[in-house]
């Protein structure tokens, strides 16, 4: 394990240093003194495991491809932007637009996420992206979702009305969102629908949550013992009748 401080480094210097270390064979790195450094881990050749102390800046792990980044605190906006593979772990809250256009890998947040988490998430070929949120999410979770899995555990919102915000799954046309707790009908966005969890859903949840719970020291059995609801696309083509050709036969 190699450790260094990012204090007084610009984000370009920090990322340059990380890249050099990984290229020289370093596999485990710990960076302290991170404060607002953007694009942390972006363009980093994997595999490597980076531990971050402090608050990383916008676009943490953007385009991430194969590395593991573990943040020992909160993260800001655009975490895991368009990530392709690898693992992003945040031991705290994350801001808005987590996992935008994510198409592979896993993104684990212990705490809450802001607005528009997991939007445009899509499965591609053999890849299935997974976003797990321990706390709650704000509005527009999983908007335009086209594939992959989002799990919101709602820890700390037990018995309350909102593990998720409004317009969940608006425009969803693929993938699955699992929510522990209750999602009232008015929070479901156009394009998504609520469905009960079946046996195979619980099996999948167990597979996804087991390593997550190990990472954060959570009680898997207790979580799985609670009811989950599922959101799925209402139709793969929600806008089939919206448009009409302005030429040719009507």
């Amino acid at each position: 394990m190699l450790e260094f401080s990012a204090k007084n480094m610009s984000h370009r210097e920090l990322n340059f240093a990380l890249r050099q270390l990984v290229l020289s064979g370093e596999r485990e790195i710990r960076v302290c003194g991170v404060c607002g450094h953007r694009y942390l881990g972006t363009g980093l050749p994997g595999p490597a495991s980076i531990t971050v102390e402090g608050v990383p800046g916008e676009d943490l792990g953007a385009f991430l491809d194969g590395c593991l980044i573990r943040v020992l605190g909160n993260a800001q906006n655009f975490v895991g932007n368009t990530m392709n593979s690898g693992q992003l772990i945040v031991h705290g809250n994350a801001g808005d637009i987590v996992g935008y256009g994510m198409r592979g890998g896993s993104l684990w947040i212990l705490g809450n996420v802001g607005y528009r988490a997991g939007i445009h998430m899509k499965a591609s070929h053999s890849q299935t992206p997974v976003l797990i949120v321990g706390g709650r999410s704000e509005d527009f979770l999983g908007e335009y979702m086209a594939g992959g899995v989002i799990v919101v555990l709602g820890i700390g919102c037990e018995g309350s009305t909102r593990p998720v915000g409004n317009w969940v799954g608006a425009g969803m046309h693929g993938g699955t969102i699992y929510v522990r707790g209750n999602v009232p009908g008015h929070r479901v966005g156009k394009g998504a629908k609520l469905a009960p969890c079946q046996e195979e859903d619980l099996t999948q949840l167990e597979v996804l949550l087991a390593p997550y719970c190990r990472e954060f020291g959570l009680n898997l059995a207790a979580l799985l013992g609670d009811p989950f609801v599922k959101l799925v696309p209402a139709s793969p083509r929600p806008y089939g009748r919206l448009y009409v050709s302005s030429v040719g036969e009507c």
Partner: protein, 364 residues
């Protein structure tokens, strides 16, 4: 009218720090907070508002005036001598700073309003008219702040450089807000930097006001004139109109500036609440601020952070003891708070508020 011709959308970094017990905070603090978000600005605008910085002149309106032209200074001073009791006037001290090309001459005037001049106006209305008159009729002179015991310092440059230029390290106040600008299609000019301020209200803003055209025409119905070529200006006039002249509570302002959606209003269980929110949207539709924004509003008794109703711009709030901080990014908070007890992202359309507990020597 030149001011009708164009306006400039703004992007950017916002920040604010308030000591809720009213203890003085050095201008260095806000400079550090803004400096920590350097990457959010592009050097085309930075500025600050300090509250409680002129305690010895707290009974005077402090007019900060920028001059593009020397002859306009004479015109303004003549106007002020004629229409106010001019207690003190001085050039605001600056120091030469790398990264800041010295801009317009900036002066401050401490004035009182002679009661006999008021006729049927309130003192505040009188000052507002005076500010509008200078900004409209004497182009080349711009009143950039006009409240008591507060002042705005702004210009073209990175915020931390602007702070140095205006020697903010020499000021202390119980509250500061700051701004670093990233305008896209700009005439980078000093008057267009944030904050925008009128009487006790100051606003810094990250975003663009898509509804600007109607917001401006709405406030114009009430005598305000937008002259500073940045959309944010209109926010200050909206606040002055709604809060001071219409006497609405802050809670109603949120319901006007970033109202709940109709579907949310319809779901309100309390019929009185539903009726009130419906009426506010019906009556104040032209005051709704549409488009992406996060703003910090400073007023004499505190500071409020607010984002648009679908949360298209970032804002975090933090608290450590009596210190309340707002910033565009969480990482910046650590520049001024060592171990915050709480850090949170205010929900869309819901304010994060810091309130001054002490009542003496407030700005206003």
């Amino acid at each position: 009218m030149e001011s009708r011709q164009y306006y400039v959308p703004s992007g950017c970094a916002t920040g604010g720090i308030l000591h809720e017990a009213g203890e003085p905070i050095s201008g260095c603090e806000i400079a550090a907070l803004m400096g920590a978000m350097h990457e959010r600005s592009n050097g085309l605008g930075g500025g600050f508002a300090g509250y409680g910085i002129y305690p010895e002149m707290a009974d005077c309106y402090a007019l900060h005036v920028m001059y593009d032209r020397e002859d306009k200074r004479r015109a303004v001073e003549e106007l002020l001598s004629g229409s106010t009791f001019l207690v003190r006037s001085e050039r605001i001290p600056t120091r030469s700073t790398a990264g800041v090309v010295p801009g317009p001459d900036v002066w401050r005037y401490f004035v009182q309003v002679p009661p006999r001049n008021l006729e049927s106006l309130t003192e505040e209305d009188y000052v507002v008219r005076l500010v509008m008159r200078i900004n409209l009729e004497l182009p080349g002179a711009w009143v950039i702040s006009s409240g008591r015991n507060l002042g705005v310092f702004k210009g073209v440059g990175y915020p931390e450089d602007i702070a140095n230029y205006y020697r903010l390290d020499e000021y202390k106040g119980y509250m500061w807000i700051g701004h670093g600008r990233f305008p896209t299609n700009t005439v980078a000019w000093w008057g267009g930097a944030h904050p925008f301020s009128l009487l006790e209200w100051s606003v810094v803003h990250n975003g663009e006001i898509s509804s600007y055209g109607i917001n401006r025409r709405y406030v114009e119905m009430f005598g305000y004139r937008c002259t500073l070529r940045t959309d944010t200006e209109v926010l200050v006039y909206l606040i002055d109109l709604l809060r001071r002249r219409h006497g609405l509570p802050w809670t109603a302002l949120w319901a006007i500036l970033a109202p709940p959606f109709w579907e949310q209003i319809e779901r309100m269980r309390d019929q009185h609440k539903r009726a009130a929110y419906t009426a506010l949207r019906q009556v104040y539709g032209s005051a709704m601020v549409n488009g992406p924004f996060s703003i910090i509003i400073a007023h004499s008794r505190g500071m409020i952070g607010l984002t648009d109703r679908v949360k298209l711009r970032p804002l975090v709030a933090a608290r450590a003891g009596a210190l309340f901080v707002l910033a565009s990014e969480e990482s910046a908070v650590s520049a001024v708070l060592r171990s915050p007890e709480a850090i949170w992202a205010p929900r869309a359309g819901f304010p994060a508020e810091g309130v001054l507990q002490r009542s003496e020597a407030v700005a206003g």
